[in-house]
């Protein structure tokens, strides 16, 4: 089955149609999505404040990272699953949206960055890196995650 046919099938599926057309389903799914964003960005901001040395300074960086990770990861899973539920009832609308394409590209980059560079720097127990390196790492983390949010918001306003 080609992707196009799959999207068409999604659009015509009665179950997904209910999600799309019911007046309560989307607001609920979107609220869950937004709740996930609140926790994911909140924990990301906090960890980056620690990385920058402006918050949580009494705690070792790796401890802050470890404490926040289950919540950040849970929030990311919540966002992805609720995001899929927003996407599949009306896939063509999103696939053709410029901001949506940008959002997906930025999201992939943000996740890749997190599991490679960011995780390695924040989980390191001994010999912390220089403040400059930490600041650069934090800058990219914050920029990437917040760009995902901005691109997401643009879906509602731009083609």
């Amino acid at each position: 089955m080609s992707l196009e046919k799959f999207f068409q099938w999604c659009y015509q599926s009665p179950v997904l149609g209910i999600l799309r057309d019911s007046s309560y389903a989307m607001p609920i799914i979107q609220s869950i999505h937004l709740l996930g964003l609140t926790i994911l960005l909140g924990t990301t901001v906090m960890l980056n404040l620690r990385l920058l040395g402006i918050g949580m300074r009494q705690l070792p960086l790796s401890d802050v990272a470890q404490q926040l990770w289950p919540w950040a990861f849970g929030a990311l899973l919540l966002m992805i699953s609720s995001g899929i539920l927003v996407f599949i009832p009306d896939p063509v609308r999103y696939v053709n949206s410029g901001p949506f394409q940008l959002k997906m590209a930025l999201l992939a980059l943000a996740i890749l960055y997190h599991f490679t560079i960011f995780r390695r720097v924040t989980r390191k127990k001994l010999s912390p890196r220089s403040p400059l390196v930490n600041a650069i790492v934090a800058f990219f983390s914050l920029t990437l995650w917040f760009s995902v949010g901005w691109a997401a918001r643009a879906i509602a306003f731009f083609k």
């Binding site: 607001p27 609920i28 937004l34 926790i39 909140g42 901001v45 404490q67 949010g149 918001r153 643009a154």
Partner: protein
């Protein structure tokens, strides 16, 4: 162009303001930073949370002014304001009733029952505020 910018700022400031409050509530409940004194987590988290709240409040007022009549008549907007008021009262109650005696249970993993009730209420109320805010955008 301006409206999307203000609305985007409103939502992203939310993640800072409420996201950090969630972390503090989780500490009250012993679900995050269990080894850390509550007062220390609070001291680290609150300035940023309040900064986020200020941005949220200003952008929120601007958003309201662009569509005051429509928003005012919206049921979800009214529920949202009510829940915000309750969240404020809940925080005030904590501040008056438990904050002065914080030293007594600062390092406890299990904080007093009243404190945990406040934390759960805070989480529930903020989830409600977020859900009502998001739902306002739909014509129900």
């Amino acid at each position: 162009m301006l409206f999307p910018l203000i609305e985007g700022s409103h939502i992203l400031a939310l993640s800072i303001s409420v996201g950090l409050i969630v972390i503090l509530d989780l500490r009250f409940l012993g679900l995050a930073f269990p080894g850390e004194p509550v007062s220390r987590v609070m001291k680290q988290v609150m300035p940023w949370s309040l900064l986020g709240f200020a941005v949220m409040l200003i952008t929120g007022l601007l958003l309201f002014m662009t569509q005051a009549e429509k928003a005012y008549g919206n049921t979800f907007f009214r529920i949202k304001l009510l829940l915000l008021l309750l969240a404020g009262l809940n925080a005030l109650y904590y501040q008056l009733r438990f904050y002065p005696k914080m030293r007594e249970w600062d390092i406890a993993l299990r904080t007093p029952v009243g404190v945990r009730v406040c934390a759960v209420l805070s989480l529930v109320l903020w989830v409600g505020v977020i859900a009502c805010g998001r739902t306002m955008a739909y014509e129900i």
